[in-house]
Amino acid sequence: GAGVSQTPSNKVTEKGKYVELRCDPISGHTALYWYRQSLGQGPEFLIYFQGTGAADDSGLPNDRFFAVRPEGSVSTLKIQRTERGDSAVYLCASSLVHGLYEQYFGPGTRLTVT
């Protein structure tokens, strides 16, 4: 079946602009995770959803970052007033049930802030 998909695959934006990154999890997966991977580094946890609610947003770096999952499926990561330091690959993962099953990662969205 289809894996986790993320759109767009690449996004270039100017400093100060607003961006939205989309994640489509594997069908039926209740848990959804966002990670950020900077160049040459391992992914870093941002937030995870169990169903529609954000169960743990402790990894969001500041209040410019926000994520939603209104219907418990697709999720959108929103970044306001982008800064050059936000440039990274944003990875989404999903799991059948949080804490019990493997997380499957999407290919990521490469965000470049100029």
Binding site: G40, Q41, G42, P43, G99, E102, Q103, Y104, P107
Partner: protein
Amino acid sequence: QQQVKQSPQSLIVQKGGISIINCAYENTAFDYFPWYQQFPGKGPALLIAIRPDVSEKKEGRFTISFNKSAKQFSLHIMDSQPGDSATYFCAASMKNHDKIIFGKGTRLHILP
């Protein structure tokens, strides 16, 4: 503070050789230790994982060795192949499959 320390940063191995990547952790609350493989332009994919009550786990050419007292674990790739060339991440989580804490990664290159 880096919770999972990984070495080496990069590794070159001849085809057929053994590739060894090491990791160390500090937090004894970690109870799940996965290894991920990542190819360029792709997301990480789970390769193999171990829990601290087991000292070794083998799946095909891939083996995890775990030393709980030393808080260290390693990945061994036997009979390394050019197709194994990728970046490998060790990781840890506090509950099975909870938010995953990744190491910085090891870029492995297998010479044909």
